[in-house]
């Protein structure tokens, strides 16, 4: 029995209602317990900030598209090299690091669970293989359904049960976690050389609209009782004036779930632009935040942009093509048969660019204007807005008005005319930051019941101890210390074991992959549906029997089983 006792920890655990008190935490066999025996190993936290392990609810770290980002950017791979040291593997890369690079850097920041934002079902094997090589974080995979032919046919036939059956079969086959819709309908239209410009445009061939896809998938998701809601990347990403599409989308969302949101709207920053061209782009964060405040059934994540070099990658193929036309640099476009597509380009976000400055401000405004921190999570849509190693800087910006003001002096001088950021006084406190970086994510993903995101007895012992003493420092003035503190934990504990100490990884690690399986009535099981089987054999280049990901790809799979209401 491995026992560990953390003494004198300044604990903030929002899901258990602990808002900051000095406590001891007892751990046995990877779980939090009431108390330990006399032989337990003891860590003295000395009053340092102790939080449940961080959870990133939207990040691109594994899979074919990330890998493409790696090999199309040799300059990025040269940028962040570390050599082998103890149990640490060699790592390289800055915005799209190697899997071990991602894992170590997340671990150093106290993150213990990461959700891969977009996994193409056909390419799930590769994603799961990379999950296994990300040893310090438990992984989850959002599975793309935005251009799935079977889903779109079900939507066309207005058959929610059929859509639910497709989702259930696919998630179980590819060991995915939740439904991700990326520019629903748009990526499929891109296959025909087109795009959709509002949620009421029709997708060629299928004759369905994004609005219908979103509505159907939200209902299918709730029929299957999946832990997470639909995870939506709205249409018209990055288009000036797109905030109207976003508002229209949010307005349609019904409130169907008591404990969590019904729609997770990811990287909201990229969907909150006013204006009509790049020249008059402005921030509409106030409109979006007002709408989110009024609708508890919606949760968003920031999708913050930070200045510097990065790589954008998304299943939203047409959007990446537009970016390519703007930058004229490298571009990769990818089609996944019958399912989705993707695009990748490297970008540089510059303080000299008004557009980039407006984007930077919008992300922060969304976090500051959303009243309830449970509804707005911290993310950069890694690596689209910035690599996740910028999180500490974002936390410091949210906690310190002074830091924001100092940054504003470096921005393009006209920025102030287009954004409301500099009129916002709000400074987030430690509790709100704890919510935005772990508790809200655990709640939104619906993984609190398997012991994620909180520290009550029975929970997984995933803990981050930061070298920050909330009782002594004033984050508003000492933002540099906050930044450094969140950048490097004193201890990161994963499943009851110290995995990283003062920025140095100390164990090899072994993660688990969390996936969902919804039990549906046998008559809706697609593996014995003659029409589905025939279509599969006819159109896919793989056989249906070879399509599912075998258990061997998930050495430590954790299955969340649900009972569908069908």
């Amino acid at each position: 029995m491995a026992e560990l006792l953390i003494r004198n920890a300044f604990v903030i655990d929002p899901l258990s209602g602990i808002r900051g008190e000095i406590k001891d935490i007892a751990i046995r066999d990877g779980k939090i317990v009431e108390d330990t025996g006399a032989n337990a190993e003891v860590i003295d936290a000395q009053g340092c900030l102790t939080l449940p392990g961080g959870i990133d609810s939207h990040s691109h770290v594994c899979g074919t598209k990330v890998n493409f980002g790696r090999y199309m950017s040799p300059e990025d791979m040269r940028a962040g090299r570390t050599s082998r040291k103890g149990v640490m593997h060699v790592t390289s890369g800055y915005s799209v690091p190697t899997t071990f690079g991602n894992s170590y850097r997340y671990s150093t920041m106290g993150y213990t669970t990461v959700l891969e934002g977009a996994m193409a079902p056909l390419e799930a094997r590769h994603t799961h293989e990379e999950f296994t090589a990300t040893p310090h974080q438990d992984m989850l995979a959002n599975t793309l359904f935005d251009g799935n032919w079977s889903v779109m046919e079900a939507v066309r036939d207005k058959d929610v049960k059929r859509a639910a059956a497709v989702v259930a079969w696919t998630l179980a086959a590819v060991k995915g976690f939740a439904i991700k819709l990326t520019n629903p309908g748009g990526t499929e239209a891109w296959g025909f050389g087109k795009d959709v410009h509002s949620i009421h445009d029709t997708v060629p061939h299928f004759g369905v609209t994004p609005a219908e896809i979103i509505d159907t998938m939200i209902r299918a998701n709730e029929i299957l009782n999946l832990p997470h809601s639909v995870h939506l990347h709205c249409n018209n990403l990055g288009v000036p004036g797109n905030y109207q599409t976003t508002l229209e989308t949010i307005e349609r969302v019904p409130d169907l779930h008591a404990r969590r949101q019904t729609l997770y709207l990811t990287h909201a920053q990229f969907h909150s632009y006013g204006g009509s061209t790049w020249k008059d782009i402005s921030s509409k964060s106030e409109d979006i935040a007002r709408m989110v405040n009024a609708r508890p059934q919606v949760a968003i994540d920031m999708g913050q942009v930070m200045f510097g070099r990065t790589t954008t990658m998304t299943a939203d193929g047409p959007m990446e093509f537009k970016l390519y036309m703007l930058h004229q640099n490298k571009w990769s476009n990818h089609d996944v048969e019958l399912e989705t597509g993707s695009g990748i380009i490297p970008v540089f976000y510059s303080r000299k660019s008004l557009v980039n400055c407006v984007m930077w401000a919008i992300g922060l405004e969304l976090a500051l204007l959303t009243r309830d921190p449970w509804q707005c999570m911290l993310s950069t849509d890694n690596p689209n807005g910035a690599p996740f190693i910028k999180y500490p800087e974002i936390i410091a910006l949210l906690m310190s008005r002074r830091f924001r003001d100092r940054e504003s002096e470096l921005l393009e001088p006209r920025t102030g005319h287009y954004v409301p950021l500099f009129a916002i006084d709000r400074e987030l406190d430690w509790y709100e930051i704890a919510v935005m970086t772990r508790a809200a994510q655990a709640k939104a993903l619906g993984i609190t019941s398997i012991g994620k995101g909180h520290l009550s007895p029975g929970a997984e012992a995933d803990i981050a101890i930061y070298p920050l003493k909330p009782q002594e420092i004033d984050p508003s003035a000492e933002y540099k210390q906050v930044m450094a503190g969140f950048g490097k934990t004193r201890y990161t504990i994963k499943r009851g074991r110290v995995v990283s100490r003062d920025g140095e990884v100390v164990v090899e690690g072994a993660n688990s992959t969390i996936w969902t399986k919804a039990r549906i009535p046998p008559e809706l099981d697609l593996s014995s549906d003659p029409e589905f089987v025939k279509k599969f054999e006819q159109y896919y280049t793989v056989r249906m029997s070879n399509y599912p990901v075998q258990d061997v790809y998930l050495p430590r799979g954790v299955c969340i089983g649900t009972e569908a209401s069908l």
């Binding site: 090999y71 199309m72 950017s73 040799p74 300059e75 640099n329 490298k330």
Partner: protein, 255 residues
Amino acid sequence: MRVILETKPRKKPKIPIEAEAIIPQNFLLKNDIRVYEGNKERTLDEIFYVTTEGPAVSADQVEIVLSGETGVIKRVGEYMNAGRIVIEGDIGMHCGNFMSAGEIIIRGNADAWLGREMRGGVIRCEGNADHYCGAGYRGEKRGMRGGTIEVLGNAGDFTAEYLSGGEVRIMGDCGDLPGVEMRGGTLIIGGDCHRPCGNMTGGTCMVFGTARALLPTFVNAGSEEREFCGQRVEMNVFRGDVANRGKGTLFVRKK
């Protein structure tokens, strides 16, 4: 200063040596120079018999001579910015990566990626060069940007891919797709080649042998005389690659 590095006999002579540290500026500072043999870090004298002659006050005065089983040594001269390296035999992959000044002379053959993304200086290879001579790495948009590479023998496929400056001169034949994606600079091929200059957007390529399977996306723009090895040669002039709205020039010998 002259540094002579002669390889020692090794138990497993096929294990490659990663020697990006072998550049003149490092020897001037008398750093503790280390190379990798496979995944094991080695000091220089574990791999080589090292002889140093004479003094040097600047990197320009440093000459490194490599001899012995040098064909497995990779990345010699990476980021070199002064001085001279002479290789008495063959050299492994990635010789002269990113070099910005100085001179590398190879008496034998060079493996792939000779002078990849080099910025300046001179590389002279007296044997053959393998694929991707003077090219950019996979995923890179610009290959060699300056300096000169001269190969007296033949070169492999994708010679001078993404060339954007400087001059690559191959006296013998080239393989498939030399000068593909060229954006600037000059590529001179003394012998034959196959499908030259696909997707070129700028720069000049001259083929003094036969260009087989010339791409149909080049427009003939008359003929001109050019000099090669002291002889006047009548050349066809092509502009292209028009598929890419390219403004490159391709000269091909008339007969």
